[in-house]
Symmetry: C2
Subunit: 225 residues, 2 copies
Amino acid sequence: MKNRKKAVVLLSGGLDSVTALVIAREADFDCYAISFDYGQRHRCELVAAARLAKQFGAVEHKVVGLDLRSIGGSALTDQNIDVPNHATAGIPVTYVPARNTIFLSIALGWAEVLGAQDLFIGVNAVDYSGYPDCRPEFIAAFERVAGLATRAGSEGSPLTIHTPLIDLSKADIIRRGTALGVDYALTISCYDPDEEGRACGTCDSCRLRAEGFAAAGLDDPTLYK
Amino acid sequence: MKNRKKAVVLLSGGLDSVTALVIAREADFDCYAISFDYGQRHRCELVAAARLAKQFGAVEHKVVGLDLRSIGGSALTDQNIDVPNHATAGIPVTYVPARNTIFLSIALGWAEVLGAQDLFIGVNAVDYSGYPDCRPEFIAAFERVAGLATRAGSEGSPLTIHTPLIDLSKADIIRRGTALGVDYALTISCYDPDEEGRACGTCDSCRLRAEGFAAAGLDDPTLYK
């Protein structure tokens, strides 16, 4: 029996990240899912992440605690900043400063401990919220950091960062995941859900998601408030 | 009165980082010190950091909680791995996977919230422990990530990462800090101190520190067990 390759997969509990997980599994990786309890308003996404990691055969699911509330600066980590219920210009207030850099860094640390040389992240440069840390040039720059930052990288085993969704529309992502058996009813994308995890239907993330199902010609299984 | 520039300074409570802090202050920055409660064995360094931040006039000192024990892989975060009491070849077991990448990422997030365009880190490429994430090429790669990752960077205000100690020997660092008024008795460098913060005298960090005082021709004020 040959040794299967390990991949660390960033799993938020939302639509994109679970699609990245099933794509990694389909590519024959043993998947190690990582989520972050960072003080997010929509903490119920962690319950969804745990369920999804189990359902889609992750070897392990780790939730790392990290207090980004202490830094604030985002509607997602500061209860005093409201989540907008309409589209806004520029980088929106739901942007969490340096979030993907922080998450990738911690995932990089875990990859090094596991001996994994592959990392999957469900960033997307088409139907996204205008966050700077979802762009291909950001990912490429981080990959270079990863190669220099670690023991493995400096000993000639650099990390590859896979972004299988980066050029897909939301509809394409949904079609791809559906074909691979994802039940999107299990995912939570909303930035401002109620305590039962029901979606608001009006935040950026809800709007992009609903438009994605419509464009894919599929029923939207999201449970709304 | 002109607006002073803000700098985020990574402050561990050790010898190097406080020297970086006084250098930043000397360069006329308003300093925002950041430390991490990451599950380190030598957690008493945080008490030292708080004291140093206050003594050297940091405008604010933030301690961010972050559970790196959940990832492990280092003698500093895993109680089952002993801190070596003699020099070892290659990258030592006290290396914490991706630690500087993680710390810089969180500091980057805070810098963005503060509107700071400068960050100081006391890494050193001469008398150090062979950690890959202390090299100038790593810092340069991270600076590029910082420019792409954030709102500020993507709007034309990138972050500068200052590494004032990178080319200094430990003795030079000690001489420089002493000239700027640092009392190194207040700092904790040891990886394996006792509960009162007294140093072991035998770990890598203690050895480099003791050799630095000797080479600088200064009394070593460290309190040993």
